[in-house]
């Protein structure tokens, strides 16, 4: 079986995708540990899954809907919705600028 071996650029790429700031020693550690875990889970290749449907949930329920009604008492008002941040302006959350000219 082919061994998976993660490289530094794999780690950097994934950290970037996940928006995780990693320190240098962390990246090195994750490279070793994740390689070890990936090689363990490679054992799944031994299982024949030809023609098997994937399972994404176990309830068997489909298209669950509730009545479309506004429940004011259960909804957050503006003040409550903003209460988790100090960084607000004009009833909006302040976020980092994404586009620069």
């Amino acid at each position: 079986m082919l061994m998976t071996k993660l490289t530094n650029s794999d780690i950097e790429h994934n950290a970037d995708l996940a928006k995780l700031p990693l320190k240098k020693d962390e990246a090195e550690k994750y490279k070793t540990q994740l390689t070890q875990i990936l090689n363990y889970i490679e054992e799944l290749k031994q299982v024949d899954t030809e023609g098997v449907e994937p399972t994404s949930q176990t309830t068997g329920l489909t298209d669950v809907a509730r009545n479309d009604e506004v429940k004011l008492l259960e909804s957050l008002n503006e003040q409550q919705a903003l209460s988790g941040s100090d960084n607000v302006y004009n009833s909006c959350f302040i976020a980092e600028r994404l586009i620069r000219k």
Partner: protein
């Protein structure tokens, strides 16, 4: 202090041996004497506990014994794993990311327990974001096993197991994504329920892996577990995976399966021997046993360690520090490890080889479990391969830590119910036990088996000496 189940509490209240305020006094006294070492609580809600206790005492004066019909948890003192949102009370997921997050609403389970008369005393430590099997991954310090403080209490609901076992509350809630309720219950010598996926609402509980998370609780006996389950279960119009279901009890002389793959290499002799004893006890009560097989169970951890981190990486994507909480640099080591792993198995070029493959092997395991339940009414199995291990023993080897969950994975991957029951201890006084797994929505039958076992075996919970 003697161990009080909910029934004993309510009898004591009726007979005026004590009041709800007295109970809160007692629990708080124990917490303040011993929890500085155990480290099971992250937040104490003393004032609200006394206010609620006074309300409960008033209800009891007004309604007498009818009070318990309307308020089945009246007088019980509850602590919530810090993954359960509690309106106005800090909820951290034991992570620095949410260090000072105060929710604006409560989860369904919290609301239902409150309405049923339960008295909240505080919020409990756990592995951060419920990532862990030992309680060592909390950003607020390790929780210790009350039976021996050099040992782990099991995780991720580490504070829940330790607090109930220490007599800091009557019962505690937890979440079980792959053993996170059953393992701490097993390591702390108390009863843990991992309910059927889709029986108890996840609304207002911080999500870990959405196709696996089940919301349950830890109690001192099976009867309490049933009582709490009867309050928390059922549809709420918010969690779309819920179903109201009734369960038909098997006829007399039910058969319990022994899944042979759970008893092969890796299982500690002490754990195995105790299960043999438990089987004899059930046999004496007329239950038959039969060997069954779940051939692909051995792949459970590999399937789990693809699906779970994948769902974790998605669920933790929302923590950007903009609307609440701190930014992503505040994530601890284990959360980052799982986000990285999940991102990898979902990323372009790897999705089919890992995530899709895992979902297919999951189908194979689910169908094998379903087949077993055509032959037997329940299964008996170990909760973990070994008794509790020492703090630090697996800290440097994540893979070895992950394998602690090998016997837990089957129930989560297939969405079935499992009840972890304590039974005796090792020569050095560390708790032992086993789990009973049943088909989806078979909780009433599992509680019945649990209560029967407790009665015949004489297994009753006693608090450890915390002065040591």
């Amino acid at each position: 202090m003697e161990v009080l189940g909910i029934k004993q509490i309510q009898t004591g209240l009726l007979e005026k041996e004590f009041t709800c305020v007295d109970l809160v006094d007692d629990y708080l006294k124990r917490i303040k004497s011993f929890d500085s070492e155990i480290n099971s609580f992250l937040t104490l809600t003393e004032d609200t506990a006394y206010a609620k206790a006074k309300d409960d005492d008033k209800i009891l004066t007004e309604l007498g014994k009818d009070a318990f019909k309307k308020y089945p948890l009246l007088g019980s003192v509850v602590a919530y794993k810090d993954l359960f949102l509690t309106k106005g009370v800090r909820t951290t997921a034991a992570s620095k990311v949410l260090e000072d997050y105060v929710p604006e609403y409560s989860g369904t389970v919290v609301e239902r327990i409150d309405k049923a008369g339960g008295i909240m005393i505080g919020k409990l430590n756990c592995d951060a974001w419920a990532h862990g099997s030992s309680g060592e991954n909390s950003d607020f310090g390790v929780t210790k096993n009350p039976w021996n403080k050099e040992y782990v209490p099991g995780g991720s609901s580490s504070g829940s197991g330790a607090a109930v076992a220490s007599g800091f509350c009557t019962f505690a809630t937890g979440t079980d994504t792959c053993g996170s309720i059953r393992l701490p219950a097993n390591y702390c010598g108390v009863v843990g329920l991992k309910p059927t996926y889709g029986s108890v609402s996840r609304y207002g509980v911080i999500a870990m892996a959405s196709s696996l998370d089940s919301v349950g609780h830890i109690t001192v006996n099976s009867e309490d577990s049933e009582r709490v389950y009867n309050v928390t279960k059922g549809t709420d119009g918010k969690d779309a995976t819920l179903k109201d279901n009734s369960f038909e009890f098997p006829k007399e002389g039910a058969t319990i399966g022994i899944p042979k793959e759970f008893f092969v290499k890796g299982i500690d002799a002490k754990v195995g021997k105790k299960i043999d004893e438990a089987i004899k006890i059930f046999e004496s009560a007329g239950y038959k046993f039969k060997e069954v097989s779940i051939p692909h169970m051995k792949y459970g951890i590999s399937v789990y360690y693809i699906i779970q981190p994948a769902e974790v990486s998605s669920n933790l994507g929302r923590y950007d520090g903009i609307r609440y909480g701190h930014g992503r640099s505040y994530f601890g080591e284990e959360a980052k490890r799982r986000i990285m792993l999940g991102t990898y198995v979902l990323s372009a070029g790897y999705y089919d080889a890992y995530y899709l493959k895992a979902m297919k092997v999951r189908t194979v395991i689910v169908s094998e479990v379903e087949k077993v339940f055509e032959e037997v009414d329940a299964m008996i199995a170990p909760v973990a391969p070994t008794p509790p291990f020492k703090i630090g023993a697996k800290a440097d080897n994540p893979l070895e830590m992950y394998l602690t969950d090998i016997y837990a994975a089957t129930a989560n991957l297939s969405g079935i119910a499992s009840l972890a029951l304590p039974f005796g201890s090792t020569k050095t006084g560390l708790p032992l036990g086993f789990q009973l797994m049943g088909p989806r929505f078979s909780e009433p039958f599992l509680f019945h088996l649990g209560s029967k076992f407790e009665k015949i075996s004489g297994q009753t919970y006693k608090f450890p000496n915390l002065e040591k």
